[in-house]
Amino acid sequence: MKRSNQPFFWLLFGAGGMLSALIGAMLVFITGVAAPLGLGVHADLMSHANAIAFARGIPGKLFLLVVVSLFLWHAAHRIYHSLHDLGIPPGPLAQAACYGTALLGTVVATVALLAIGF
């Protein structure tokens, strides 16, 4: 019997699902609603200077990387199974499309965060 490769992706799915369940809604509210409207937060919360300072610090870098990549892995795994639910057969091709996109996003985020510097 062939061992399934799903445990690896499932753990990333679970981690991303848990993180987004815990703070996802609030995070979207802050970056997408509160900050642009200046609702309850400082008007320049996400200004260039503040963003650079945040992304240069180690905690900020890690936070951004973890959020972007885990959210992507969570979505990729769910979408992979949803494709099956909708009649698209699971297998290497669907895996490459879904997990490949998450991997690409993770790599791009890592490269960009490194390029921002310390």
Binding site: M1, K2, S4, Q6, P7, W10, L11, H81, H84, D85
Partner: protein, 247 residues
């Protein structure tokens, strides 16, 4: 006679070799408040149409043989009451995801085959002789698997599982629940063998935690929980391979 009411049973009929496709047949019946769907079917069979075919035995939600789709949901016919489906008509069909053998009877050989694959017995962790006495177990050890041993093999959970419907190679809810029952028994020593099946592509990984199997289970076995606990176990075993000293 006590208060009777009327309902129309709309029953799927199919006879291999005669029918080209399943058809629905309507049977108007009179029933009393205490009558189950199974009793309704029996009334049809005894007084209207003796050719109607369905399985049953205990009439009390114990034998697990009367599972069928009742009003579109997997239920035990002996545990569903006609009064709950007024005004009708009440659709009665064979269990979803299994090939129809005849009318409401399905071919269960795939499930029986799966049960055979999970090593459904205890292989003692340590052999004991008669003189050494019985294998003792604490209430806490019993608690770990007891609910998973309540399964009556009615297969409602398989009819409820879209993943089994999409790909029947999936080991599925009840077989995994029974596997889990043995794997979490303190007396058992065959975990490694069963984990091979759990870890495989036919094992637990087709499950997407729909959770409907546990919802329809008449015995509160919670097969979804058994499947998902084994995902955790399987993930642990997936990474354990990379530890030094492990194969």
């Amino acid at each position: 006679m006590a208060d009777t009411r009327k309902i129309v049973l709309e029953v799927l009929r199919y006879t291999p070799g005669q029918s080209t496709a399943p058809t629905l047949q309507q049977y108007p019946i009179e029933f009393t408040d205490d009558m189950s769907v199974l009793q309704g079917l029996q009334q049809v069979k005894d007084f209207v149409d003796g050719s109607l075919t369905f399985r049953w035995s205990c009439r009390m939600a114990i034998c697990g043989s009367c599972g069928m789709m009742i009003d579109g949901a997997p239920k035990l016919a002996c545990r569903a009451f006609l009064r709950d489906f007024l005004p009708g008509p009440l659709r009665v069909e064979p269990l979803e995801h299994f090939p129809i053998e005849r009318d409401l009877v399905v071919d269960i050989s795939d499930f029986v085959d799966k049960l055979g694959r999970i090593t459904p017995w205890i292989e003692p962790r340590e052999p004991r002789s008669l003189e050494q006495g019985e294998y003792l177990q604490t209430p806490a050890q019993l608690e770990r698997f007891e609910s998973f041993s309540h399964c009556i093999n009615c297969m409602l959970c398989y009819a409820a599982c879209p993943q089994y419907g999409l790909d029947s190679r999936f080991l599925g809810p009840a077989a995994t629940a029974l596997l889990h029952r043995y794997n979490s028994d303190s007396r058992d020593g065959a975990q490694a063998k069963r984990m091979e099946l759990v870890n495989s592509e036919e094992g637990v990984w087709a499950c997407t935690a729909v959770g409907y199997c546990s919802e329809v289970c008449p015995k509160a076995v919670d097969p979804a929980n058994a499947v998902n606990q084994n995902k955790t176990a399987s993930a642990v075993s997936w990474f354990a391979r990379f530890l030094p000293g492990r194969g």
